[in-house]
Amino acid sequence: MILVGLGASCGALLRYLFTYFWKKTRIDWPLATLFINLTGAFCLGLLVHNFPSSQFTTLFWETGFLGGYTTFSTLNTELITMYNERQWKNLLFYGCLTYFGGLCLVWFAFHL
């Protein structure tokens, strides 16, 4: 359980750093979260399917690090912000890119 917690701390820190530096560009589009979720999904797919699983890998890297690195709540809160500001095209584009991009990348990782 400590391993999961430590992994999640490291993953969340990396996510915070990416979003922090992306916000400095002042571009009002959540590219950082998209990048985080897609790379995280791909890496988890690779780990689960192509690497020998050990207790350390499962707890620290998969559940902890990649679980804490990627986020589902930020994605949906960003979608609500777009909904709130009536940016329909952005909402649809961001949602589709994240969900279908994530699924495609995991499928790809499983078949490598």
Binding site: M1, V4, G5, L6, G7, A8, S9, C10, G11, A12, L13, R15, Y16, T19, Y20, N37, G40, A41, C43, L44, G45, V48, L59, E62, T63, G64, L66, G67, G68, Y69, T70, T71, F72, S73, T74, L75, N76, T77, L79, I80, Y83, N84, G95, T98, Y99, G102, L103, L105, V106, W107, F110
Partner: protein
């Protein structure tokens, strides 16, 4: 970038990750689904009730939002679960995907509407 903020994100994420792990231990991918939906509601509510109005200190916003709830929810386990489920039962996988997608958006919408309602009620007092 303040050290205090980094410590807040890492410290709160420690517990967010463990809470998610406990959900997944008892309910597998369905635990992840519950954690994700609950997290969407909580983050959206927190954002529109407290963060947008600067009710809390900056480090606490980051600790609770980015750390605790951000690490409590996960996108990578969600996508891997969908692809895993699809190999055995395509119907269940589609259901899991749709409930996550629509449920997550709906949960965040309810959080946002509740926050707006509470803010309005406080303003009328």
């Amino acid at each position: 970038m303040k050290i205090k903020n980094l410590i807040a994100v890492a410290g709160f994420a420690f517990f967010g990750g463990i809470f998610r792990y406990l959900f997944s231990l008892s309910l597998n991918e369905w635990g992840i689904l519950i954690a994700n939906l609950l997290g969407c509601f909580l983050l959206s509510f927190l954002t529109y009730y407290a963060i947008e109005r600067d009710l809390l200190a900056g480090w606490l916003n980051l600790g609770l939002g980015t750390g605790l709830i951000g690490a409590f929810t996960t996108f990578s386990s969600f996508t891997t679960s969908v692809i895993n489920l699809a190999t055995s039962n395509f119907l269940i996988a589609s259901g899991y995907f749709l409930v996550s997608l629509l449920g997550g958006f709906l949960a965040a919408l309810i959080g946002y509407l509740l926050a707006r309602l509470l803010v309005e009620m406080e303003g009328n007092r």
